[in-house]
Symmetry: C2
């Protein structure tokens, strides 16, 4: 039996607006260079050029405000559906962004999520939304590079400090010099990319970036694109072999030996 306190009025208390922002990643194939070579892949994130203030014309993540009939995760999935047409995919919580002043409209906290979708499943209807290739560039000055098909290239400088005392990743995003990403979405993007990179213990996330039938080389390319480093084929195959199932189908006609097509399977041996 649950009762309410007497004279309780929820409106007596100050309340924030609650929004979600979602970093949606996909894998795109670049055009083949020669008839022999496989097409390379690139990792891309969905960004929307804002048409409204605040941050008009800045790049932002898809998102929106939650409503009382939904859980926050349901809001994130609904927004994902509205922007991409993709349904029924898992979506992971990143962190809650709630620093004072993060949104000039007032007290608005944002729940940051990330997810992966197969590009062919997505229908991007919103005119201002498009895929931006994304990669970390390490060097004297590390940065995150976002590049559009139309040739725009944006750089987000960042520092990642591994503070063992805090037992989690301390990330500093520097966008003050060249502001082009709305709100604190640069940090959400960077954190999502770190999470994505750390998510490949099993190939399940990678399966979500590929069609139902795929070659093991395609799966390996997904890994190599996300991790940004080459892997040895023999070892990679041993690693994922227990998660995939061979089919009778063959992918041929590519200027070299045809390859067997595989499907994801849920029964790890």
């Amino acid at each position: 039996m649950v009762n309410l306190p007497e004279n309780y009025n929820i409106n007596d208390y100050d309340r924030p607006s609650v929004a979600v922002d979602i970093a949606v990643f996909t894998i795109r194939k670049k055009p083949c260079e020669t008839y022999r070579h496989l097409s390379e892949m690139s990792l891309s994130v969905l960004l929307i050029k804002r048409k409204e203030e605040p941050y008009k014309n800045y790049l932002s993540l898809p998102g929106g405000f939650t409503i009382r009939t939904e859980t926050i995760e349901e809001t994130a999935k609904r927004k994902l559906y509205e922007k991409t047409g993709v349904k029924n995919v898992p979506i992971s919580l990143l962190y809650n962004s709630s620093a004072m002043g993060r949104d000039p409209r007032g007290w608005i906290i944002s729940c940051g999520y990330w997810t992966l979708i197969e590009k062919s499943q997505a229908v991007i209807t919103e005119e201002n939304a498009s895929w931006y290739d994304i990669k970390f560039v390490y060097g004297k000055e590390s940065f995150l590079e976002l590049s559009s098909e139309t040739g725009e290239v944006y750089k987000v400088k960042f520092n990642i400090g591994n503070d063992i005392e805090l037992y989690n990743e301390a990330l500093q995003i520097q966008t003050s010099e060249n502001d082009f990403i709305a709100f604190d979405h640069a940090e959400i993007i960077a954190r999502a990319l770190i999470q994505l990179r750390n998510s490949l213990d099993t190939p399940y996330p990678a399966f979500r970036l590929l069609p139902p039938l795929f070659t093991l080389t395609e799966l390996q390319q997904v890994y190599e694109t996300i991790l940004d480093k080459p892997l040895l084929m023999a070892n990679f195959r041993r690693k994922v072999m227990s998660y995939v199932e061979g089919t009778d189908e063959i992918k041929a006609g590519a200027g070299h030996r045809p390859s067997k097509l595989f499907t994801a399977c849920n029964h790890k041996l």
Copy 2:
């Protein structure tokens, strides 16, 4: 340059109250059985018997509402400080709980956190707050057992399904039969315990449950208590040796060979 949209009024939109709830764990030593034996340890969680409606007299996690001058994490740390006097400890996000009807007072979402504190650092002033030993009990019917020093024993039934399709843990908490835990705090407690168990890749979390000087057997006992299984000493020592530093101090007078005292160190070799 950031502008606001014209005629924008944040009060035009429906907003939830936002709260935090924190699962605070500690390790307690049970009394020694004989002069020879070491004292056993138990894992405990801090619970508060509510004095107010709703859920008056039910057990609940420490927590409270966020305010606009704090981040949500700062709210969680402030609430931790108010209930335990403990400051400057890391605190980890679990998940956001936001299902409709989770709080009878209205639209209230809760950000669930968890943390570890050393018992001797905590000063529990609130009269209705106390430590409850906690452990998973597996069997035909699995449940989570909470027991107080005064002899109260509460059981929370649960189902954990590993849904590979969702790539995360699906947890079903059943408290409908014997309701004694307020709100959805049973789920937060269970999820926090799962996170805690999965957090022992490195001994850093375990260090937070021990005083600055500890024996390797104490560290191993912390592991064994959290994981609820025995570990082999030789292997455990090799595993943690690169994370600890020996001191000249010795713990003697325990009815057996004295043991060296160690400290946590941050420079993993």
